[in-house]
Amino acid sequence: MTRQPPAFTTVYTRIEQITKATCSLRARGVANEEMALIDGRPAQVVKILDDLVTLQVFSGTQGIATDVDVVFLGEPPTLRVGPDLSGRFFNAYGRPIDGGPDLEGKKVPIGGPSVNPVRRKQPSELISTGIAGIDLNNTLVTGQKIPFFADPDQPFNQVMATVALRAGADRIILGGMGLSNDDYLYYRRVFEDAGVLERITCFINTNDDPPVERLLIPDMVLSAAEYFAVEKKENVLVLLTDMTLFCDALSIVSNRMDQIPSKDSMPGSLYSDLARIYEKAVQFEKGSITIIAVTTLSSGDITHAIPDNTGYITEGQLFLRRNTDISKVIVDPFRSLSRLKQLVIGKRTREDHPQVMNAGVRLYADAANAKTKQDNGFDLSDYDERTLKFALDYARELLAIDVNVDVETMLDTSWKLFAKYFKKEEVSIKKELVEKYWPKNEDGR
């Protein structure tokens, strides 16, 4: 984004109103969503009424005087896109923070138009991560958009980095919003160590930076992603962390604009605001944008407006939870879901995948019921006992996030565990599949 005002522009020097996040002044010929510099600070027009223009100041309005210079830049926020985005780190305005040169590519407005739905292709390429909680139960597909739902103390950044590196994407674009400096350095190191820096572009807003600046990050990231996916026909993986902090910034702005808050003090437009971002995930004939995001929860509460609206927009969610029985973080099979898995499981993977997946989760659910009974002090039936044992093995060998095997092994492991603890009719799977895949030996081999 340029910060140089074009020559011969009017400079305004009288601000009429200043709030924590906005300034208002009298000006003519100003366009909606146009960028401006207020005393050198980037700001964007959010409201015009007659000659009174209200601007949102991204870095906050601390110290702005009523007589500072205000210059309108005559364009919406932009990013220069080109091959020189590769291997670089930028701030929310698309300016280098890695000491490298400024971008020189083509200037495009960020937050551009939507893809015509009839020009989309149906996602069909499996993304394999090696994590059975994902590949077996919640298979990911290119062109999908899916968040991790996790409490702040869970290792979501680590899991996301793992997924990103194993996913085999042509390009990874990271948008960090309110990232702690440690996490920022973590991502940097992981990408460096893996030797993939050339395939990476990062737009980073750390928690030292002003919160409202975060609002630009997703659009910056996705403009870069669209460049690589549309013009270079690459499979782009976009990582957005943490979207909850992005939403908090939205609520700050809407509050300053005197809007009536809806549920959980979030703006009434939260759904549309999030959809505009997530719907940029797309599969083209060649090239795709896949979005994996993080939405942190407050003690697992998914009814809060942020995860709730996110869940309605994204194609599923991956729910991380600590399993105390095996002392590991698992991908929760009940709350997690990949809506696009049906496009690949049993088609790109072995035929028994859908039924094995369902049977495993159902038996794990039976174990959860048995556990409730146990906790309430009731006697357990033989079946209950067996489900509990199954659940332990299932969590350890398949659900834990440190598992790294291929899908075929995951299916074989599932059959092995079924045979170890259950009779054929207890797993409720189509007979022809049972006959084909049920392990022949007692020990499940």
Partner: protein, 585 residues
């Protein structure tokens, strides 16, 4: 001379315009911005200042941008050529738009004006006709598309002349009509209609009574929908709302399906784009797309057009209903439409109702649902619109304003339960909470007794009772423990599980199980009904679960097999012998 104006204010997609003449509420205006026309709808008028919601992004809009008013409300164009099309919320043909990305201000006609249609007259010269009467017909896909007296024509008209059989474009005059005052009007194959006004060119609206087969057992047998009925599917995310709607869209026994993807995911629509041209209509063997129209305003498309999209879909449904067809209209999701209303009401700084939704939300929802129904046309034929909407309640809470507003008007309630979805019991329609008011209608009961079997309704109530008793027994078992309740409680619980696993649950991704024709549903529910009425001998509660699991497994295998074919019958024989093992004589 039409009224003109200029932009004086912008905030998000709400624009304030100063006008030089009269304007009307809901009038459409065009805002010019650097050669591009942005469509907007008047939603509030205050003296010389008018508030309009813009159907496009307002980026770059400036004070003094010129505005022109059209003297029309938001309208759709009706005529042959709508079928199998993919429209946006404002009836632009998405396939005719250029480029990968949507361009602001780009418009298309709803259908081709050049295409020639084979027209055959129905009405004769000298005949008296009124709005909605059939003048002639053309063949659209496989539908006899009626060319009608435009719905806006008031009173009685006489056919002065009518075109002879032959090929015509939609814009050629096919009839001239004259009314008693001597006014002459020329009629083409197209007409325009304002979407927010219901088409009322019919004789009357009788009670809907005829069962509408959807192929979903949990609906058809236990909570039946009727032709011309209304229903809604509320559910938290991830419970399978959209999958359920797709299944219904693909398998319902209707003439036409209109799908309105309102503020939802684009990939879900892409799935329909991809699958419907390949899947067969189970009743005619034609491709599904031949009976389908898609109105698609996905969540990242302009918010104001979301509201327009549901009305556009409903108006097109009404148009085809007037041809005597059975239409199924599906909208996913009406909550997104309500949210669009909320965003706008908020920007207009109106006093908010519950959860910041506008105060008149229940009235808007009620008016919309009441446009569905069975109608008797002016020529004595019948047509119907069955409407099923989904609702996406915030936090899965069924006490929120959109659910409550919808519950007041929709007759069928298909509540999706998180608990069922969590344990992968699909469709996750709550077996206890859900209902169909139609089951209580005398007309519907009579129809069912006559067309299915004499004691059908009693049987269904019995099945519902078994489910309820099973749930009560389950609660008791959980409170008191397995061995502290009589064995009979376990039997009760497992009989309800048999109904659930053996009949209500359906595998949407299995080619056979995904949709069940009514006769097969009747056969299976009969079989399960008989088992539920039997008494069994058990020594301990542990035996109950094991035994019923065997029965369930057998019934499930039947569900996966082709009806009354070899495999099916083998499983059924095995089932019979399992049942005999413990049946009390």
């Amino acid at each position: 001379m039409s009224t003109k104006g200029r932009v004086v204010g912008v905030v998000s997609n709400l624009v304030t315009i100063e006008v030089d003449g009269p304007v009307s509420q809901n009038e459409i205006c065009q805002i010019s911005l650097e050669g591009v026309q942005l469509k907007a709808e008047v939603i509030k008028i205050q003296g010389k200042r008018v508030f309009a919601q813009v159907f496009e992004s307002t980026r770059g809009l400036k004070v003094d941008c010129p505005v022109e008013f059209t003297e029309h409300m938001l309208e759709v164009e009706l005529g042959p050529g709508l079928l199998s099309k993919n429209f946006d919320g404002l009836q632009n043909d998405l396939d005719a738009l250029s480029g990968v990305f949507l361009k602001r201000g780009e418009l298309t006609t709803a259908f081709s004006y050049e295409k020639k249609w084979e027209f055959a007259p129905v009405a004769k010269k000298g005949e008296k006709v009124e709005a909605g009467d059939w003048l002639g017909e053309v063949r659209e896909n496989w539908i006899n598309h009626k060319i009608m007296v435009p719905f806006s024509f008031e009173g009685l008209w006489e056919v002065e002349s009518i075109a002879v059989k032959g090929t015509y474009t939609v814009k050629e005059v096919i009839a001239v009509l004259k009314n008693t005052a001597g006014e002459q009007r020329r009629v083409t194959m197209t007409q325009r209609w304002p979407v927010k006004i219901p088409v009322r060119a019919y004789a009357n609206k009788p009670v809907a009574f005829k069962l509408l087969q959807t192929g979903v057992r949990l609906i058809d047998t236990v909570n039946p929908m009727v032709e011309g009925g209304t229903g809604f599917i509320p559910g938290p995310f991830g419970c399978g709302k959209t999958v359920l709607q797709h299944i219904i869209a693909a398998n319902a026994q209707v003439d036409m399906v209109i799908i309105c993807a309102c503020g939802e995911r684009a990939n879900e629509v892409v799935e329909i784009f991809k699958e419907f041209p390949e899947l067969d209509d189970p009743f005619t063997g034609r491709k599904l797309i031949e009976r389908t129209i898609i109105i698609c305003n996905t969540s990242n498309m302009p918010v104001a057009a979301r509201e327009a999209s549901v009305y556009t879909a409903m108006t097109i449904a009404e148009y085809y209903r007037q041809m005597g067809l059975k239409i199924l209209l599906l909208a996913d999701s009406t909550s997104r439409w309500a949210q669009a209303l909320r965003e706008m009401s908020n920007r207009m700084e109106e006093l908010p109702g519950p959860d910041a939704f506008p105060m008149d939300l229940p009235a808007i929802v009620a008016n919309f649902y009441s446009r569905a129904g069975l109608v008797e046309l002016v020529n004595g034929q019948t047509g119907s619109i069955t409407f099923i909407g989904t609702v996406s309640p915030a936090g899965g809470n069924l006490k929120e304003p959109v659910v409550e507003a919808t519950k007041k008007v929709a007759r069928c309630f298909y509540a999706l339960a998180q608990k069922r979805a969590d344990s992968k019991r699909y469709p996750s329609i709550d077996t206890i909470e859900s209902y169909s008011k139609y089951l209580e209608y005398k007309e519907v009961q009579e129809y069912l007794q006559e067309n299915l079997e004499p004691h059908w309704v009693e049987k269904i109530y019995f099945i519902r009772d078994v489910l309820l008793r099973g749930k009560e027994a389950y609660d008791q078992i959980n409170i008191l423990g397995d061995d502290s309740v009589p064995i009979e409680y376990h039997v009760r619980y497992w009989k309800s599980e048999l109904i659930d696993f053996g009949f209500l649950q359906q595998d949407a991704f299995d080619p056979i199980d995904k949709a069940t024709p009514l006769d097969r549903q009747r056969y299976m529910i009969d079989l399960i009904y008989r088992i539920c009425r039997m008494d069994f001998d058990f020594d301990s509660f542990g035996d109950v679960a094991a035994y019923f699991k065997r029965i369930i497994n057998q019934v499930k295998q039947m569900n996966y097999s082709e009806f009354q074919k070899e495999g099916f019958e083998k499983f059924e024989d095995e089932l019979d012998s399992i049942v005999m093992e413990r049946k009390k004589s």
